[in-house]
């Protein structure tokens, strides 16, 4: 029997923000939640005890990357994703649909499935929705995602429409093929920035019926305003009794705006990727810690932050590490950036509970960090 569940705890007084709880056999996830991304089964530069320390609730991995290396059978035989990564909490795997379409130089997709070339060694692979379900079930995450078709941005409207229809067909086949009771399978809504295609995608996906819904096809280069405009009706149209997961979005401002529209879950590589280049989120907007202005600065990265990095290290030290390309620089900044988003969503949860999300969001949008979207 599936242990997956979703409890809607409260809804904000004046926005569509929700406070909810996702139940899995590896523990509960309090939403709204930001999920650190461990693409290849590791959140880059951060150990799992560090993830626990900074309050991560659920970790994401990618079926595409793990399928190519080390191979799904390796992960399965070690005991699945939790044992492989040494992470005891809930997990989610993306199907790899987005990665096939964004990373592969050459691919063909038909109604039956997609044929793509490995980014690792150029070998050819064929995925059908059924094969993808087998892969994600072997990985054994608490939440799996359907195999979808992700058009680039910009794309011809006909291409986006085809993606919506094929994604819906594949979603139905995924649901039919999925037979792991202890894993929840989420549908994915496509449709780009076209309101009527988003509406069609919601209708078709909800008709199939899933315990949760990903909202894909955003964060691919579309203008910020167009994204928010088309996201609002998607949230309104999705069922209230299932989690809504805005895929690939994790910049502070967009995340807070989307929470206000009723989104529950987020993931993004941004915090760790920008950390490796020396860029930190902060309460006053992004900072490039390699900047010479920090060379002798004894203060913490962000005086308003309670993360382990801000508690113990000076800007001068962080700059030194980053300029000298010392691993510890990327590690400490990754910890900070992840904490920043985890803490931001924690404060968002508190605001929704208090029925004051509008004030919280307005405070952020009026503050110096709002430029970061």
């Amino acid at each position: 029997m599936s242990t997956f569940g979703f409890d809607l705890l409260s809804t904000d007084a004046t926005t569509s923000a929700r406070r909810a709880r996702i139940r899995t056999s590896h523990g509960d996830v309090e939403t709204p939640v930001f999920m650190p991304v461990g693409t290849r089964g590791t959140v880059k530069g951060v150990t799992t005890p560090q993830l626990v320390e900074i309050g991560a609730q659920i970790v994401l991995a990618n079926a595409y990357h793990l399928y190519l290396r080390p191979g799904v059978d390796v992960v399965r035989d070690i005991g699945g994703l939790n044992a492989f990564m040494n992470w005891e909490g809930p997990t989610l795997t993306d199907s790899g649909g987005f990665q096939i379409f964004s990373l592969s130089k050459t691919l063909t997709h038909t109604d039956d499935g997609v044929r793509f070339q490995s980014i690792v060694d150029g070998s050819w692979h064929v995925w059908t929705p059924e094969e993808n379900m087998r892969i994600q079930q072997d990985l054994g995450a608490d939440i799996a995602m359907v195999l979808d078709v992700c058009p680039p941005y910009p794309a011809e409207e006909t291409e986006v429409a085809d993606a919506v229809r094929r994604s819906a067909d594949w979603a139905a086949r995924c649901k039919a093929a999925h037979d792991c009771e202890d894993q929840a399978l989420f549908g994915i809504v496509q449709g780009g920035v076209h309101a009527h295609l988003r509406a069609e995608s919601v209708e078709r996906t909800v008709e199939i019926g899933f315990p949760g819904y990903g909202i894909g096809g955003y964060s691919v280069g579309e203008p910020h305003d167009l994204m928010l405009e088309s996201l609002a009706p998607v949230c309104e149209a999705l069922p209230t009794d299932a989690p809504r997961y805005l895929m690939g979005v994790g910049n502070p401002t967009t995340m807070l705006q989307a929470i206000g529209l009723g989104v529950d879950m987020f993931d993004c590589v941004l915090p760790t990727r920008t950390a490796r280049t020396g860029t930190a989120f902060s309460s006053t907007g992004r900072m490039n810690l390699k900047n010479a202005q920090y060379a002798r600065d004894p203060g913490p990265l962000d005086p308003q932050c309670a993360c382990p990095t801000c508690a113990s290290y000076s800007r001068a030290y962080l700059r030194h590490l980053l300029v000298m390309k010392e691993m510890l620089g990327a590690i400490l900044l990754s910890v900070h950036n992840l904490y920043f988003l985890l803490d931001l969503t924690r404060r968002a949860r508190e605001a929704v509970e208090a029925g004051k999300y509008e004030v919280f969001l307005r405070g952020w949008l009026d503050g110096p960090g709002a430029e970061d979207y």
Copy 2:
């Protein structure tokens, strides 16, 4: 008043191994001890809480590297090495003598000092023994080392003899210039693999008088046997009431042999450097974790090891991380390799306390790990 002290607690029954305690204002150091190296003020890939977790007692940094970047004044103004690195325990800085001679492409040294080119930007710098003392006092470690002259191996005997005499002259000038009461200044014995030059160096350095003695000029490419042969009389000639520090040595077998000769302190970049290439110390000798034989191996790196890496991760996962060049691979192997040497010296201390060091050493030398020297 100096807080530095050295207590000889016990001497082994049948070898020259010693069990002692070094006292500093940042805490005690139980010897024999392996000191993790944080050349630029960071033990590569490892956080200071992780160093505490695996039992590191004292951390080393290098005056040469910190002088070039970020600059000694930066470290001093942040509050010294402890505050800069976020490390509360004892620290030691090497003078940089070895680095000047091994890393600089062009340098000139006269009786007065050494003129060398920066490895970072090619700029020219002049260090006298007096200037080096100012630098190390500003860095503020518990233990500083005299500025010495390190000939390469092989070198003409006359060159080694010159290095011995100039090192002794500089040691005297360092002692005269050193006026930081809360920092202990160690002398350094040179002399290569020449017994009579080592004897001369010991005599001259001890005549000046220091609270501890480095033994330098080894681990520069000389044959293992020649090193041990010339090391034994050096240890015999050094005073028993001061710590002996074999500089730059940290492979398991040589370390255990040197402990048997009466050495108390060791440092080496080997554990973290080899970790970054995928090589691990183990109770059965070195392992290359990138090897295909580990691709599906569910067991721990070293079943006899109690480190955090061996407690929680499979060989298959470590191999996956290392092959994919994920940062976490280097991090987890660095933690393991450091723990391995820290634990080995901890067990050596127990053996000396029990008066059974000879049995302990013989056990290692007869075992499969002994190849690792």
